[in-house]
């Protein structure tokens, strides 16, 4: 696979998404406790018999003691559906200082998230978006899904404009059941709108993980002198004296990051920034370690 080599896979085997506590919905039997009652070995409770209930569900031992009919009900266990939402807008293609593009990092993170979900025995799918949803691979539980995802990411390229808020709204429509949603994006754009949409996803009872992929140049803004900036998304140009804007940009960037941290923290959404200059697997391990109860 292009984005997961054996060394990365060996490191990922030490990690876990720790998804057991998440309640799942669906028809496939899995390891996650379902919100519905169904067939399993996990006793839930007794319920008074009502006409229509299967006779085999009657608890005869209780009838012998109380002479009233009670039905045994069991906790249903389903698989969890994981969806990786990957931003393929032009800004994700940004690379600076000889480092790999953010897109490369984002693909590896997407593959790692998919692997971790599959390792839990759950299903995982992938949806890419820029201004609107692009590719969509429905969730599957087999490890062969990794090959499918890797092939899709290998074919995809970051480019074009982005409207994260609109794209997430559209993607949310396609994720109907309660799922684990892993959003991988640089979150560059209207901060308030993005927070609003992500919180809306959270309101649909999805379990959300936001992985922000950034390049250190976007944080440090190490440009100086008169500079003509050209945006990778809208291809527009901006002339400015980078030296004079350095401090203000850094302060604004830090402010934006703080807003994301505060917003996601308040909504109990797992969030972390991944920078290109650090090993992605170490950051991922730290991120998952922080999620540990």
């Amino acid at each position: 696979m292009r984005y997961l080599d054996p060394v990365a896979l060996a490191k990922l085997r030490n990690l876990s998404l720790n998804l057991r506590r998440i309640t799942a919905e669906g028809h496939l039997t899995g390891r996650h406790r379902s919100s519905a009652r169904g067939i399993s070995h996990e006793f839930a409770h007794h319920r008074a018999y009502v006409p229509g209930d299967e006779i085999k569900a009657l608890d005869w031992k209780v009838f012998a003691r109380q002479e009233r009919f009670y039905v045994r009900q069991y906790q249903s266990e389903n698989i969890l559906t994981g969806m990786v939402l990957l931003d393929v807008s032009g800004s994700m293609a940004y690379a600076a200082g000889g480092r790999p593009a953010k897109w490369e990092n984002a693909c590896r993170l997407a593959m790692a998230a998919a692997f971790l979900v599959l390792a839990e025995g759950d299903a995982v799918g992938l949806a890419t978006f820029d201004t609107q949803p692009r590719e969509f691979i429905p969730p599957r539980t087999s490890f062969g899904q990794l090959e499918v995802l890797d092939g899709l990411l290998g074919r995809s390229q970051a480019g074009g404009e982005t409207d994260l808020a609109a794209a997430l709204e559209a993607a949310a429509v396609r994720i109907r059941r309660r799922s684990l949603v892993v959003l991988i994006s640089d979150l560059l754009g209207d901060c308030d709108a993005i927070l609003k949409v992500v919180k809306a996803l959270q309101a649909r009872r999805h379990e959300l993980m936001v992985l922000q992929v950034l390049d250190p140049a976007e944080r440090d803004f190490g440009f100086a002198g008169p500079t003509l900036f050209r945006g990778l998304e809208d291809r527009q140009e901006l002339y400015c004296d980078a030296s004079s804007l350095q401090d203000a940009y850094r302060a604004a960037f830090q402010r934006q990051q703080k807003l994301y941290e505060a917003g996601f923290h308040g909504a109990a959404i797992s969030y972390m920034s991944f920078y290109n200059d650090r090993p992605w697997d170490e950051d991922l391990a730290r991120f998952l370690g922080r999620r540990m109860p």
Partner: protein, 935 residues
Amino acid sequence: MTFTNPAVLWALPLGGVPLLLHLLSRRRARKVEFSDLTLLRRVQAQALPRTRLRQWLLAAVRCAVVLALIAAYAGPVLEQRGGGAPGAAAGDGVDLVLLWDDSYSMGAVSQGRARWAAACAAADVLLRSLRPSDRVACAAFNDRVEGAGLDWMSPRACQELIDHSLPGSRGTDYAPALRAAYAFLGRSRRARAVLLLSDGAAHGLRGVLPPPEPGIGLYCISWPSPPFNATVLSARPERAGSSDQPALRVALWASAPADSSLDLWQERTRLGASAVALRGRGEAVSSVPLPAGRPAPAPAPAIVNASPDDARGVGALAPTWSGHVELRPDALPADDAYYYSFRQPRRGRLLVLYGDPAFLRSPHAGYFLQDLFAGPGKRLLEWDADFAESGRLGSSGVRLADYDAVALADIQALPAAAAAALEAYVRRGGGLWLFPGSREGALVLGGLSPWLPVRIAAAEPESARGLRLEPGALASAWRDFELDKVALTRRLDVTPRPGGQVWMRTASGAPLLVSAVYGAGRVAVWGAGFDAVSGNLPVKPVFTALVSAVLSLLREPAGAIESFSVKVGEPIVRTWTRQEAAPARVRVRSPEGRVATLWVKDRRVEYFETARPGLYVMEDETGGRVYAVNLDRGAGESDPAPAAFAPWRELSVERLRDEFWTKVRGREARGMALAAAIACLVVEMLMCLPRVFFLVLLLAGLSLPAAAQQGDRFVWTQLKLGSTWDPYPDAPAEVLQLLGTVTSVLVEPERRVIMLKDPALFTSPLVILAGREAPPALDAEDVRRLRAYLTAGGMLWIEDTSGLAMSSFDRWVRGTLKDVLAESELQPLPGEHVVFKTFFLLRGAAGRVMVRGTLEGVSWGERTAVIYSRDDLLGAWVKDALGRPLLPCLPGGEAQRHNARKLTLDILMYSLTGSYKSDAVHQPYLLQKMRMGIP
């Protein structure tokens, strides 16, 4: 402002080049691709006004740099406001009047060099710097302008004039010199300046200065701090008590308090020295007694028809004193000596001849008279008196010629020989005073009676009280005495003869005091006794006045001290009275030894060459007289204090030329322009260079003296003791990473390893000591430092990583802690100890292994200074290369590891926060923060 090289100003348009470059640089912007411009646009929109302002400021500063450089090359000259030299900077000539002060205060030595010499040298340099277009006029001045007046001359001639002159002996007055200079420069239309080569002292501002002339700059040399100077203001002779040896009353002045000595010289002989305490800027007086004076030669006999032997007696000549007093040398040597020359007339001498052996005992008159002529300090009359029995007259012990007057007291019978001697004595100029005693009997005066001014009959009783003055007597002299209360019980019947003048009578009108002239002398008769039996006169205050009045009838009072002193420059004048024999010529010998012969004309001679202070001797055939010539102290030349409010601008004597031309022609501003260019360049650099550069510089500067400081970041400080001091090298990084993630503590990623002797020990709030084997025993210095660290607020976390119930490290710890903190024991920490809830709430201790199952600690005051864990807390943090825990946690497994990690963070937080969690002072803040929705 003018420019020495104005052609360079044509380059001023080059100042716009930076502006042009700035505009052109917009087109040469670097093109950079950036991920998303949303944030950048927003930032630029907010910062645009400030950015534009900064850019334009930057362009302006760069333009200013170029303009300042061009201006510096053009040679700007700033003209002085009111400098009085308009046009001087542009190259026009300057009219300069140089006035040099040749008063004697210019001879003051300052910093090892006379002011006069320093001023001449500075003037020399200044004159050499004159341009051909400049003109100069010069003149010397003191309290007047010397020479023929001001006129233009060449600088060389002016320089020679100054070099050939010396400080004189006159005082200073700037007014006439300035008046002459202003009048001279008033005709000029060029730049004008007056330079005073003077000491600028306040004593020169005696006269009314002329008002400053517009357009004329007035300058004067300024000197360093005024030197110390002391002077003898005066040395006046005075009578010293009752003796004939006079004293000098010496007045001294000094510019500052000091102790000095005063030398007394007579002629050329130093007689001695006395210590004097000088007052600062005040007058001190010292009295210097003089030895016996030199008898003056007798210019003319005072006694008509007297033999030379007689001349020695009655009317003998007064002795003279001459010499000088001198202070220690100081800044101004000229005023340290003061010359004196005077003559003090001799006192009158009275011989009292008495006939009654009991005359000197009370209540006889001698008893009371002795009181009047008693010893020094008690003497009431300016006479010296000797008392002798009348029988001794004619013996070798008593010589009438030695006395000015003789009193015959209580004489009843006078031998004829004695009477003859007295008659001869009076006839040659002596005085005779006759008064009776208290004894009864006829008065037999023998040979005296014929020439006495009275006829004396028998004594008569007197009943009336009081005395009455005759017309002609000086009534005012007796005004304060109660003459009407004088009671006489008996008196002689005195009848004046022709020629006798009655001065006083009794209340009944009987004559009492009669005098007359006999020969060259005088005779006075008092008709009553001075004893207490004859009346109350001797116990009345008028007794002294009466005796004095009688004696004044017999001899003219001794004259005042006659001083022969003139000021420098004043002529020595001597005149001869008609009674004196005037010589035809006199010779005057000056202090330098020059002798001048002067012819006496109209009994008067004048000598004008008194330019130097000293003793001038005027001699003739009969003798000589010494004149003291002194500097005029009244001019205040001895006071070196500068004028407080001087009308001139001061120029330093060391840099006279530079400062003078700077004042007159203006100040070159090339340096200022260059400084402005450099300042603009620095500002440009400050605006251009990133702030982080200066921040780094600042931090580097701060870090030099405080390299051990970690600011507000937590530094994992580990003690290096023994061979197993670092059992888990990677554990600190893991701990710090989690500490920085889950808490708000800022951590320093690099750990610090120290020894106990390291100074950084005292800048580390927490020190970790780990090990599994016993380190070497601590020496006394280490124990002392560790104790000082722990008692001063530091905390030590000891971690036994052996995982054994009994280890050498454990024994070492317990033994060492007893030495370090002997007052407190190592005890298990209870479960409610704040360390278990500092950040995470824990039920107890944990670790990689559960050897002890609890923490131990040493308390110091209200805190735990040492925490000791034996459960290998750090071992729970160790991971392998793939991020998996390296060592298993026994027996609790991962839950135990989790608790061990929490306990590790709790210990670190305890070292940073102490007992704040149990104090719960943070709860209100957290609650408020939660209510406000702040994460």
